[in-house]
Each structure stands twice: as C-alpha cells, then as structure tokens.
Symmetry: T
Subunit: 154 residues, 12 copies
C-alpha cells in the first residue's frame, strides 16, 4: 500500500525547537536541526526520504498527521507535551492508515506521573523512549523492517 | 567500565516460553528459540555475545538481573507479566550499574489498563514496545550505540 | 435579541474534515461537505442561513465561537476531540450570549471512558449525540423552535 | 424488521408524573399529559402511534422496556433518576432489538455530578437532552428518519 | 401552608418489616408495629395524626413520598437501604413542599462505608440517627416545633 | 434447623425472563422455563422441592428473600443486574437465617467492571458463576451437602 | 453508672461563638448565649444540670471531652469545623465511657462535600443535624431517655 | 480435543499446605491431603484421574499451569494469595487451551477488600467460592459436565 | 465600612517563628521580626497601622481571625501548614466581613501535592505566593488599593 | 543577566480579549486594552517597557513564551483556560531562563474544582490571583523587586 | 553537635494522658506516668536525661518540637492522633536539626485505614510501632546508638 | 509456648544480598554478612540462637515463614520489595503462631508512595524502620522482652 516514493513524515511537537538549549540534562545537547540532518542521512542510505517538521500548534500537528496519512509512507511522531493532553492528535493517529511510531527523547516513565499517560500510544504501532536522538533512527529502522515483512499487529 | 568480553544479558519473564503458540495475534508466531537465534546472530555480527534466558520465577529473574549487573555489559529485559507487579525486579534494575533496556513484544499501551504501568521503566535507560522480535534487535543496537558514545542521561 | 439576518454558526472540530473516510463504522459514510450541503438546504427551507466551518485548531475554534457570539443567531458545535479537553472552548461557550447546541455524530457514551466527559455541555442549551448527520438537522430545528418560544432554561 | 402497525413506546421514569409542579425552573411548566398530547398529535401526523406511560417502579419500567422490544417499533426512554442507578434498565435496553433513544428534559450535564453518568446510554442509539418537551418530538423524528434510512451504527 | 387536619406521613423502607427479629443488636428488639403504636400515641397526645407505612418497593416509596407532599403535613422517612442507592427517592424528597426528616434506627456512620452516603439528606430538613425507635419520636417533635416557629433554613 | 418439608427457593432477578433470546452468546440458549424444569427434576431426585420465581422488581425480590427466610430451607439467588446495585437485597440476604448461594450464568468477572462488585456476596455462603444453567444444579448440590454436614463458616 | 448529680456537658467547637452574626442564613439568628439559656432552662425542668462551653482550640476541646468522661453524665458535642478534621477529638469520644450525641445546627449533608465526613460519628451514640438550636434540646431529651431505658446499642 | 487419558490438574497456591491448622474458622479443619484423597476418590468414580499439587512459588505455579495446558484435560486452580497479585498466573491461564475453574475455600467476597479482585477470573470458565473442600468436587463435576456438552461460552 | 483608624491584621501560622533558620532555601533568610519591621514601615508610609502576630495554635489563630473581623480593616493571612488542614480557619475567614488576602512565602504549587490545596482560598479575596517577604507588602498594597476603589468581586 | 532594554512580556490566554463584556461579575468591567494602557503607564514610570499580547491559540502562546525567554526580561503570564490543560505551556515556562509570574484576574480557588490545578505554577516564580487588573501591576512590581535583589528561589 | 548535657525530649500527643484506662486492649494497661518513670530510669542508666511531656494541643506540641530542636539532644515523638492530621507538626519535625524518632504504642498498620498515613514519618529518622511502652525504650537506645556512630541517612 | 532451644528466624527478602554495594546512601555500607555476624553475637549474649537467611524468591520466603512458625521462637522479617506486593507472605505471617517483627533498613515512609503500604504489617506484632542494621538488634530485644512479659496485643 505504501510506495517507496512517499516520504516518511517526522513530526515534532511543542518546545522541541528549543532542543540543545532546553534542560540539556533531560533532552540532550543535540539541536533539532542536528537530529534532522542525522535522520535524513540515515534515510538516504536506506533509499527513503524524510519530511521533517516541528510545530508548537496542536492543530497544525493534527493537520500534518492527516497529511502523513494521505501522502506519507509512515509517521514518526514525537508529540512532546501534547502526548499527554491531545485527544485530537490521538484521534488523528487512529484515523490514518500508515504505521505510526511514537518516539520520546527522554524516558517519560522516569519523569512526572502526568507524563506516563499517552493519548497517542493506543493507536501507534510501537513506542520508543529514552534513547535521545537515536530513538528517531531506531524508529526509521523499525518502519523499514515493518515494510519488509508486511503488516503485523501492534 | 564494561568490557567487550562481557555478554549482553537478555532476560525473559513468565510465559514467554510459550511464544509461537500463545495468542499469536498478540505475541507473533516466532518462538523464543527463534528470537534467541536471530539475536545471537545479530550480536555476533556486532562482536558481542548474548546470554539469553527465560524463567517463570520472579526470584530467579531477580537473581539473574543481579548477575547481569555483576558479569554483564548490559541487560535487555522483557519482564512480561512481572513488569506490572514486581517491585523486586524494579529494585534489582535500580541496584545494578549496567544499562538496562526494557522490551515488550506487544504495544502494552494498547492493551488492558493494568499493563500500562511498569515497575521497571523508572530504572531503565529506555523502553521499546510493540515491534515484536525486532524490538530485541533494536535494544541491542541501542546498547551498542550507547557504549560508543559513553554514558548519557535516561 | 437575535435577528433573522444573522447566520447560524456550525463549527466542527478536529479530524471532522476526514469524515467519510475515517472509521466509517463509527462516524458514517457521509463527508463533511455533504453534511454542509444538507444542512444549508434545510436552513434555507426554514429561512435561515448557515455559516459552516471546520478547523483542527483549538484556538481558531475559540475565535469562531466568540464570533458566533458577536455575529450569529445561534451555534451548533461539534467540538470533536476538543470536547473532552478544552476548557478554553467551554469558557468561550459560557461567555457568549447566543444559544449553543452540542452535537456529536457518534454516541460518545458508548465509547471510551474519556469521551464521556465534556467541557462544553455545562454551558450548552442541550446535547444531541448518536444520530450521525441527522443530529445537525435536529439541532437546527431545536434552535428554530427555541427562537419561536423565547428563552427557556437549559 | 419493524412494522408500521406497531407503536412507538414512550416510557417515563420516576417523578415525571409531577411535571409542571415540580421544580419548574429545571423541568419546565408543561405537564406530562401535555407532553403526551403533543407527542401523539405529532406521531399521528407522521402516521405513527404512541404508547405513552409513566412509572415510579424500576421493575415495571424493566417490564415495559421488554414489552417495547416485543411489541414496539422503537422506544423513547426518559428514565429520569433511574438513568443513573439502574443496571437493570440498562440491561433491558441492551437486550431488546428495537432502537432506543434516551431523552432528558433538562441538560443533565449542567447539573449534579451524579447525574452525568447513565447506565442507559451505552445501549441507546443516541441521547437528546436539554430541550424540554421538544426533546421527545426530536426523538420521534429521529426514529422516523432511522426507519427511512435503515439500520445505522450507534 | 400545612393544615392540622393533614397527617404526618411516616414511611419505612426495605426490610424494616423484619424489625425485632432482624439483627437485633443493630436494629433493636422492638417490632415495627410497636414503633407505630408508640408513635401514634405520641402524635395523638400532640393533636396530630400519623399515616404509617412500610414497603420493600423503591417505586411504591416514591409514590408515597409524592402523596405525602400532596396530602401530608410533613414526612418522617426511614429509607433504610434505599437511602444509599435511590436517586429517585432523593428526587421525590426534593420535589415536594412539606418538611422531610430523615431517620435511621442505627448510627449509619458507625457502619459500613457505603452506608455513610445518603441521597435523601440533601433534600431533607434534618437527619436523626442512632436513637432506635426514639428517633421517630424526636422527628415528630421536631416537625411540631418547626410548625410552631414557621419556616427555617435546612 | 431446616426441615425437609420446606422448599428451596430459587429467585431470579431482572431480565432473566428473556433467557434464550437475550444475548445467547453471553447467557446461553436455554430458557428460564427449561432451567426450572431441569432443576425441579434434579431436586425431586434428591427428595427436595423447589419454589422457582422470577421478577423484574427489586422490592418483590426483597419480599421473596424474606419469605425464603421464613418458609424456605435455603435460597439460590441469581440477582442479575440487582447484584451490583441493591443494598436492599443484600440487607435481606444478611437478615435471614437460611443459607444463601449466589449464582450467575455468565462469568461476571470477565465482563464490565461494574459487574465485578456484588452487594449480595458478603452475606452469602458462597458464589458460583460462569457455568450457565449447571450453576443452579451445583448450588442445589451444595445446599444439600451443607445440610448433611451441618453449619459451616462461609 | 451515671449519677443525677453529674452535669451534662455541652461542648461547642470553633466559630460557634459567632452565632447570630455569622452567616445567619446557614446557622440561624440565635446567639450561643441564647442557646445556652434555652438549654439550661430545659435541663432544669428535667432535673438535670448543664455545663455549657465553647472553644476555638482543638486541644482544649479534647481536654473537655476527657473531663466530660470523668465528671459528666453525658456529652452533647457540636464539634463544628473540627468534626471533619479532628482524629484527636474522635479518639477522645471513643475513649470515654459516657454517651455522646453529635449535634450540628445546619444539615451538613446539604453543604460542601468535605462536611459530609465526621471523625466523631463512629464513636457517638447518635447524630442530630439540621434542626438549629432545637437539635441541642433533642439531644438532651435523647440522653434523658437513654438513661431511663439503660444502655442500648448505637 | 481432550482425551480421557489425560489427568485433571488441581493446583493449589501459597499457604494451602497449612490447611487444617491455619485459621480453621476461615479455611476449615480438613487438611490438603484429605482434600486430595476425597477428590481422587470422586474422580476415580467418574473415570477421571487427578494430578494434585501445591506450591508456595508463583513461578512454579506458572510452570504447572502451562503443563496443565499441554498435558491435562482441565485445570482446577486455587491460586490462594496469588489470585490477587499474579498477572503472570492470569496470563498463563489465558494462554492455555484447556478449561480452567477458579476455586476458593472461603468466600473471598466476605473478606478484606484486596481479596475481591482476581487476576485469574477473566480467563477462567467459572468461579466457585465459599464451599470449603466441597468446592473442588463441584469444580470436578463442572469440568465433567462441560466435556459432556462440548464447548460453551464463559 | 472600614475606618482608617483600624489596623491591618497580619497573622502568621505554625513554624513561621523559625524563619531565617528553618530551611532557608525554601523560606528565605529573613526572620519574621525583619518582615514585621519592613511591613510596619511600609504601612506607616501609607498611613496604615499593622497588628502583626504569630502562633503555632490553630485555635488561637481562629480567635485572631475573628478579632480581625471585629476590630481590623483587613487581614493578611499566612496560615502556613494550617492552610492545608484547617476547616476551622477557613470557616473563620468566611465568617468575617473584612477582606482577607492569603499569602505564602514559597510557591506552594511547586512543592508537595498536599500543599496544593487550601481551605483558606475560597473565602479569601486573593492569593499571593512565591515572593518571599515581598508578598506581604504586595498584599498590603492590594488591601490599600481595594479600599480606594471600593468593594470588588473576589 | 537581564538588560533594562529588554521588555517585560505580558501574555494573555484565551477569551481574555472578551474582558469587559464577558461575565463582568467574575472578570471585572475593565477591557484588556484598558489593562494594557494602565500597565504600560506603570512600567514607563518604572523605566521598563511592556510587550502586551493576547491569543486564543495554545501554540502561539507557546511561541511567545519562548520568545519572552529569548528576548524578554521577564514574563507575566495569564494563561486563562490553558492554565488548567496545557502541559505544553508549562514545559515552555520551565524551559526559559527569565522569571515568570502567573496572574489570574479572579480567585481561581473559589471557582470550579478543575480550575484549582495549574500546569504553569510549578515553573513560575510565584502566583497572584483574585486582584483583577491590579494583579498585573503587582506582578510588575514583583519582577522589578526581584531584579533589584538578584535571583531568589521560587 | 549535640551535647550530653542536653535532655532527650519525649513528647506525647492527644489522649495519651488517658493511658491505662483508655481502651487497654489497644493501648496497654500502663499509665503514662509509669512509662515516664520507666524511661527516666533507663535514661539515667545510660547517662542521659529525659524531658517528658504530654499535651492535647497541636500548637503546644509544635512549640515543644521547636524547643526540642533548640535545647534538646533528640526527640522521641508519639504524636498520637495528630500523626495523621498535622502538617504543622510534620513541618516542625522537618525544620529542626536533632534526630526525631516516631513511636506508637499500638501497631497503627493493623488499625483503621486513616491511621496508616503519617505526616511525621517523612521527616523522622525512623519509626517504631506496636511494642507498647517498650517502644519508647527502643527509641532511646536507637538515639544513643545513633550518637555513638555519628550521622546516618534516614 | 516457645522454647529457648528454638532459634529466632531472621528472614531477608529480595536484593538484600546486595547490601553494602547497592545504593549505600539508602541502605548503608554494611553487608548482610556483617549484619548476620553482629546479630548472632548479640543473640548469643542473650542466650538465643539465630537462623539467618536471604532469598530473592517470594515462594521460598513463604516456605521459611511457615518453617519459622513450626520450628522457631520468633521471626524478624525484612521482606524488602515483597513487603509491598506479597499477599502470600502476609498470609503466611498471619497463619503462624510465633511473634513476627517487621524490619526495614531505610525509613520506607520517606521514600516512594508505593513503599508506604505493607502487606506484612497487619499480621506483625510491630514495625521498626529507618535504623539500618541496628533495627535488627532492636527487634531481637523486643522479641526477648515480649517473651519475658508474656503475650501482649499488637
């Protein structure tokens, strides 16, 4: 159902544009631009393309998730703070037909209680958290492997 | 602090010995032996060795986690049902000095409410769930990458 | 207080632009455009006009609710996912002086627990859910009847 | 599956016989008899007949819901206080094969917390609340429309 | 508003017909008939009449509460087990215009947790519990005193 | 204390009169009449008689529980939906002196959360659920065995 | 065990010294002095004496409850706000041997949720609330009656 | 699917080896050996064999449940304290293909709140509790009857 | 209603007498005496006088709140630990007629969960927290401004 | 660290543009423009400049909070309804280096329960609520004072 | 830091003055005076002195805890009922620099649920409960041992 | 009932074998072997013997608790992580006849919320926590003292 010509969408939620300067002991020292470059290089090596975006707007992220469903081959989603509050993004994830992988830089389960619940997870294929920027690359590999072996249950 | 000669421990909790026959729509069709073979091959290719075990005994798993801390280079832990009930295993994970990666075959966040809480996560470096057998390989890569780049926050 | 020249605002929340393709067993096969056409025809037959909009943006919906209060004759609001999370939209509904009717396509009380609570309901005149596209028309009739009989308590 | 010769059952729960005198600022000034007359006239104009009843007895209401399932064409149910406490009525609604519409005169979501939960809703086709006596007529129209278009999901 | 010719209704809920034999260490050794006789004698001495009834039926009790509102001078209500589950009886108490006094033989606050909540109390003038049969007489005196001094806040 | 001449009461709660037609995948295909016949035959073979009844009325069931206490030798009680809401029936069970066995056709613990709590259980000798019509016969045997061996703690 | 020469203690908690001026729509227009006079007159007529006190100090009230146990014949306790927070006063009530009656001027069950729980009730013989100053007199009568009939269960 | 040659497994959880001496007012005076003998005799009379075991080890019980699935004809499981804490045993019960009946000697619903929840029940065919040693025999009969009539829903 | 001759009461709750030495990283290095001097100087400059007190006694603080209502022009209240437990002080605040401003030195919302609830707030005009000793001065200014502009809603 | 040339950001959340017309008994009669003018005048008198904005968009407010961190000297934030739901804004507040003061016009602790929790507070220096427009000015003074005395703990 | 000349404070909370007569099956038959004598003798034998006090006043206990911090060598605190309700005493314990040991005569964890939480424990060095008067002596030994070995973590 | 020839059992739960190396700031620097030696020396001085064991296995600990009941004179139990999850160990403690003292090295009440609940406490004579290795010796003294004075309530 997915075509190799379609990009992988990589969508980043609120405050991730601050990466590198924001609480580096939690989120690491890499900037979002560095993650984007690393990930695009990795994807290119795998014959895939990446559409990498960030927004602080919940609604714009909903728009993009829908767009990923219509035009993308898969979605890597770091919803950041909206992970814990956005039924709208969870509904969008559930509504689209392409596989979605939820990524978090930090180990959200080692943080505040309110960060342990995700409205995204139930509709995602899988969750990766705590590996910093590497988590994005792990998600890319997982999407690639999933395509190779066909649909699988979540 | 870890030496390449030390193995990666891969510990599997209760009922994972039934893999392949047990509810394959949730856990997939691969047996635990197949996962072990796949993972050992992958590790060999990376110059690492694997100590792969399964037990239905909470206490034996606590023993092994301690052993991984004393003799291992890292720990990949699929605690299965004990994930949600074992303070003892969570304490063991917190007590040892090697990095621990929590893995689940299924997306536990898309299942029953009582499977959404983990006593392991807070002490783990990261969590990977929903990717079936691939998740173990992702964890192996993540341990490898972590060693390459040195300690990082969880 | 309301003048016949003023339109009825019909505001639709996140992901409703996907209607027809998104989980049709829950939301029905009609597209949002079809609902708009049906509703405009019905309104025309009743001598009323409709201002029909959709947005995935919580803040834009707040803007429009305020606008409905300033320029509209009544408001039919399907807040979709924001129903359950938006205090801001609930505050806007409470702040305006025109009657608001809350509509949902599906029976939200037969779905997940978190969809049973609405921040909109307390400030609305009434709630209609479970009737698909027909629910919008029922809301239109109810607004019309309310105007005929004057203010009534909610 | 339903025949035009079968009546629509309209069942009213405890204390609704007091309508008109009981807290008119919440429930309106119309008596239950007036609602019955209005509704029968409306039904007659649509070629339908109404079997309109009220009881303060939970068990009698369960009997009547079962009867509506056996002999009726549809059921409009204002369970009043039993809405919030009667698993038995909820089970009866779930057990019968005709469409059920839950109606409340007042907007129960703008009232006490314990009135926000309904044991009826999960088994009903839809819910209408806050429109006073008009709500019954809206329910009648909705049943009529549902029959015209055939079964639809709830 | 109340006339001396009207009786005081004394309504008793489920299982109170067993008094005297049922768990006498909780409910005392007096039968309900003995309480009725004692209370009628007391009322006669105060120039009042009593309409004393018991039912195991929630709906019949709702009927009688409504009747007390229409034909009575006041209501002494020992709703027994329905105290803790009947929104319908609570609604009836709130709907009528005569003063209602809630009575319990035992001290319900020294018993199981689920007996600490009452749906009756919010609409009652006052609550008397723990005094056995004497509680009924205390309620009678309180109704008498309330009439002497006119309406008072609850 | 019980005499062989006294019947075993078998009381069935709301909607059990629909058995056979109501959700047969949950409640089985046997009608309540068939269960009654099967049970009476079994009792006859054991020299016991059965008084078998069904009601949708909570209060009538309370009456019958009391009657079972006064005139019966034991009580088999399937309170159906009232299991989860009726303090009145739980009080009646606690008030009577004959052994009570709680029976459910389906495994209520594998169903909705609100069906996991019973107001009956604390006063019953034991609970049997999930065995369909056979559960009634198991209860009969258990009552018979209990009489043979004398009182035992619950 | 109590002697007629011993007084009835009547202890009043925080802010009751403001009676008459404090929120008279809740607490009535009578001052605490007027209640004291009324109650002393009533007691004198019954051959009893009253020791009537008020304090805003939780610990002083604990002292006085203990004193009532040592030197009094009974205790009428309006703990006011401490009702809901004082384990210490509840422990004192449970520790003494004379009967304690809990009194509240207003119907605390018709007020804020946090006023529905009492640490006093479990150790009291009974509770009287909602009757204003009359409640004290009712409590006096109840103590008098209890002495006449000897100990009774609470 | 099951063969008559296969045994019924009867597995007993922690502390059941103390039966007879441990709190006999709760658990009865019979020892576990006596129950085993009684049950084997009963099974022999029905042409069935019993594999009867006890362990204090959660993991050993998981092993045995798996073994019952592989080599047994059915499983009677008294998980004792692990009933309330073992997701691992609940997962094992859900993973195996033979019918499982949950048995408890005492009526767990008349005991502490934490004994009211079972991780076993959802995967079991049915639950029997409160009948002491007789409960095992009832379970045996139920397994026998289930085999006679073929698969049935739980 | 307030006269310039009346003082502003400034009441300080338990352990505030330790200021300066007690956990200075939370409460700052200023002593309570220094705060008193600073505040009196500020008040003098505004033509107001201050009655500044501290007590560890809940009841004494209730006495003083009442006194502030009778003799003061306004009340600045730092209830410290009693903020979270004292219904009695909350009732006193609600009972008096002068404006009350709740002050906390630290940002209580950034501390333990149990410090996030205040029994004082609902009856106060406003809340100021997190500004150390400056908060008292801010409260003084706010009282001054409120008097200048007349009564305002809280 | 902050320079006098940088402005104080004053950011206002959803529906605050309706001030003056929206529920004036809660929010006062001043418009947001009037507050802006008042505040700018006050700032000018203190040698500070103000960047005053309002938005109904959660994401735009996140953008502006980040901007305040980059270009501002301090932030006065009235997040209105987003206070209670926006983890994203709370994260932004925690991410920036300039002092943030949370302001509310009304006393949110005297309103609905869901308005008592703030995602902003934990990261703010302090909270001011209930003082209407004056609260903004109090915040301005507090920022000014904080700069004068250097960093202080929150 | 502590000097041998300083006394050990032993502070006892509400109702402990009743020891010996109050519920001796819970609190033992020894009076508080006997405990004081026993403890002073023991202390003398260890070269320590004791300052032993009891109060029913929360605030007086706060005063004394502060005094123990200023003049004592350690504190043995049996806060009795205030254990469960006094944030003020917990704050005082946290504020002082000498080691505090929490003692309870009874095993509070085998009693009512509300006695399982302590506001004191988090700031105490350790907790001893269930040993009656001996617990005080154990605490004395523990303080003595702690001084011998120097500071240790709690 | 206990004989001096019987040993005191000292049972240690999961991860306590790591003492000395595991999080020494929480658990201290002493190894478990050092504690064993210290305790055996102390016991010898008191004419008692010690049977000191550690296990990571919940079931083995249950076995040993039973053994302590059969062959021991008393039990000192540090259940470590199983304290908070093991109903099985709690049941074993309740089932045996010898006194049990619960010991924890750290002050569990100053740690994570889930460590505040113990399944052991209700059946233990008493609890000692926060005193490190000394706690074991305190428990030994308490057992010795208890034997000297005969049975006492907990």
């Amino acid at each position: 159902m997915t075509s190799a010509a379609k990009p992988i969408y990589v969508l980043n939620g609120p405050n991730l544009n601050l990466l590198g300067s924001r609480e580096p002991d939690i989120y690491g020292a890499e900037t979002l631009e560095e993650i984007e470059s690393m990930l695009k290089a990795a994807a290119a090596g795998m014959g895939m393309s990446i559409d990498f975006r960030q927004s602080n707007q919940e609604g714009e992220l909903v728009d993009w998730i829908q767009e990923a469903g219509a035009r993308g081959r898969g979605l890597i989603l770091n919803a950041a703070a909206y992970t814990h509050t956005s039924v709208a993004m969870g509904d969008a994830v559930a509504a689209i037909g392409v596989p979605v992988i939820e990524v978090h830089l930090s180990n959200i389960f080692a943080r505040e209680e309110f960060r342990h619940h995700s409205y995204i997870s139930a509709g995602a294929k899988g969750v990766i958290c705590g590996f910093g920027a590497l988590g994005y690359k792990m998600a890319l590999n997982a999407l690639d492997a999933a395509e190779a072996t066909g649909p699988e249950n979540g």
